[in-house]
Symmetry: D2
Subunit: 258 residues, 4 copies
Amino acid sequence: MANSKYEYVKQYELDDSLLPGCWIVVRIDGKGFTKFSELHGFEKPNDKRALDLMDECAKEVLNEFPDVRLAYGESDEYSFVLGRSTDMYGRRASKIVSLLVSCFTANYVAKWAAFLPDTPLRSTPMFDGRAVCYPLDSNLRDYLSWRQADTHINNQYNTCFWALVKSGKTPTEAQATLRGTQTAQKNELLFNEFGINYAHLPEQFKKGSVVIRRKTMVEVKQRADGTPVLRERNLPTVLHTDIIREEFWQEYPHLMAP
Amino acid sequence: MANSKYEYVKQYELDDSLLPGCWIVVRIDGKGFTKFSELHGFEKPNDKRALDLMDECAKEVLNEFPDVRLAYGESDEYSFVLGRSTDMYGRRASKIVSLLVSCFTANYVAKWAAFLPDTPLRSTPMFDGRAVCYPLDSNLRDYLSWRQADTHINNQYNTCFWALVKSGKTPTEAQATLRGTQTAQKNELLFNEFGINYAHLPEQFKKGSVVIRRKTMVEVKQRADGTPVLRERNLPTVLHTDIIREEFWQEYPHLMAP
Amino acid sequence: MANSKYEYVKQYELDDSLLPGCWIVVRIDGKGFTKFSELHGFEKPNDKRALDLMDECAKEVLNEFPDVRLAYGESDEYSFVLGRSTDMYGRRASKIVSLLVSCFTANYVAKWAAFLPDTPLRSTPMFDGRAVCYPLDSNLRDYLSWRQADTHINNQYNTCFWALVKSGKTPTEAQATLRGTQTAQKNELLFNEFGINYAHLPEQFKKGSVVIRRKTMVEVKQRADGTPVLRERNLPTVLHTDIIREEFWQEYPHLMAP
Amino acid sequence: MANSKYEYVKQYELDDSLLPGCWIVVRIDGKGFTKFSELHGFEKPNDKRALDLMDECAKEVLNEFPDVRLAYGESDEYSFVLGRSTDMYGRRASKIVSLLVSCFTANYVAKWAAFLPDTPLRSTPMFDGRAVCYPLDSNLRDYLSWRQADTHINNQYNTCFWALVKSGKTPTEAQATLRGTQTAQKNELLFNEFGINYAHLPEQFKKGSVVIRRKTMVEVKQRADGTPVLRERNLPTVLHTDIIREEFWQEYPHLMAP
């Protein structure tokens, strides 16, 4: 073969397999999304269209990769969980991370117009990704709790911050007002100053999004008379629910099952 | 902080920095592109529209990431070269690989319609990626030669294969005809049977695509009288040229410069 | 500093930390011990002096490194188990492996004369080592069971093999005799041909050696009248017992405790 | 096989191969040698017996492992250099590091009595080790220059420090005297206060030790009349010479040769 004298370079590809028997979490993050969201006029503190687009992309990742068991997302990040025993691509980190990122990104661009029809895409949306291994079920639970607690903290802060800014404060003044405040104080501020009951805000903003596969009735065809034929399918579904508490995991025990 | 008891999970993120002082090559590959190209009716053995789209995406990667010095692509793969001394994202493998893949994928979807206007996108184009380190300049040269030699071998084979198939042979018969043939024999077959002079085929098909930055005159504005104002810019440019021979590297010495 | 222009080379030291939260097993193996044991006239199939020396070295490793919870050894290998939550040397693989190997080797040479007083050391005893992570308690149990099952299989085979060789067979004949035999057949052979009841062989040969810390009464000083003063100490102790069965782990629950 | 159900645990052994084509440096360091040297009454600032023992152990490492091209040592550390193209143990980091450390340690204990005959070994000498890859010849040269510059800096400081302490200063006072002093000032202090001409101190202390293989005449047997039969052998030899300057590398070009 004409290229045989060059083929030695393949030996420089080192193995990057992830430890067997661990949960694999791939977390992807938007690159420079503060700027990206300004450029595209995202609503503050939360743009439901942009969040719905993120959720849709995550569903497509679950459609494409059966080994992804569940996903959790907030803002411009999403975490995908692969089962302990997955042998997807021999557990090679770069293969798994790059494909999940690529799938997510492709869908983000492809479905953009459906979610933000009046906003042309003006720059390239990009996501980085990394894989992390967790040995114990409790580690995985704690990881997901960490992300959801983060969602709550960020959302509450941002809701206050943008209410203050929209009311005429500068960003610096808004930050100063919020410095050192606790959860209860922030809720009071929202209610007293702006008439916002934090508890009544959309669950999607407060809890983020969980994507799991769930039995769903789907129309697979129509009869001659036009009545639909339904079948049960196991489809990716988005929930905005508490995944820190035990109840969620009792309701969906297959998520953690061996 | 409410999430402080969960934050220990961050410690599970292990460092995946690439060895300093080495060339970094990130090679990305289309996932399942045999099927993808059939689904979208790509012309065989080469679809110029699809190759141009790949080249355009590679140019965008160079636009986005100044640390990418050059790129080489063929078929559904592209290799991106980062300089020895790059400190892009602390040389973290997953960060670099995922962002390059994400940038490439986003552009592939966003620019699809411009290159294949009559072909709606019917499935999700995805690319995997991996990073490889090369200690010596000669290793990098050999890597790129390996890919370009591969381009030649594949293209010559595919040109014969599809000529045979289009002439009525089954794929199995075409494979049998080509088994064990050398370069000279394949060229003869093409010429004698199909009147194809392999040497006259487009360079893009035979040599693949090299993307480098080159001084280019660009119109930056117009004068009041409508005449353009030109400025020299260092822009990503696609070449279809031999990168195995020494001349290319002598012409662009900055590509290998420290 | 005179050496400041060279100090950049430190950046080439990459992090090799082991995943947090996993059991760490460091297994060390004698290098070329078939030859080493011949050179020093080790008794076949088992030389109790050499095994006792191995056990003594393992005890010293536990004396030196409190994070080593237990050890299991057979023949010329020993496995050391570090707890899930150990932060010994920041869990850096090369640091942990090299120090355990170094400690073991130093003691092997230093204590050689005490265990094989009539045999001068004629070559350098060397051990290689590697670290492996296990996410689950069950993985660690299975690892240790794997090694102990291996001890049994090897010892039974070697006992038969050397009995045949000592009775006049060539090594090749002995191998041929044993090929494909099962446990029961090997025991019959030993009993019928050589009058050896396998069950009566020393537990050290059949079960290998487990080293754990156990409360032990130690003489710490003597009273004026010469009577000893005893204190309870938690000292490394060698057992030759079944570690596959559940009972062992129930008897020493602290070994697996968080 | 009785242990087949446990064998899955072998899959948890991850590959730790070092990048091909790079120089491999394995640096070993004494563990807690400040205390170790006090316990054994090492002469300060340098104990020639202890340094000779280190050098002897390094020679044995070169005797044992032909792939080790050269070694450089100072104080309680030694660096071993393996050639770019070595395939020793498939370039697995833990295998290479552990065996070099084990070989060094075994010899340190075995030869201790020959070098320090009046000093019984009172604690276990231990060395840790790590492997680092260097892509360029210049990186390797800089690494070795870094260590030798370090030897000079440490030795000059320690020579001053111990002269001050032996003259009656406390360690704290000695440190205060030396704080911020430059090379020239330290040399003056040594000469004016203690009559020590730093330039006249042994090269072993000032330059450290380099071990390379060099053609050496060796007596291989004696003739009947008692005259020796000499043969040229390529034997590990210790030099105390400048390895920062170019001349050393010109004199021994094979050290860097491909």
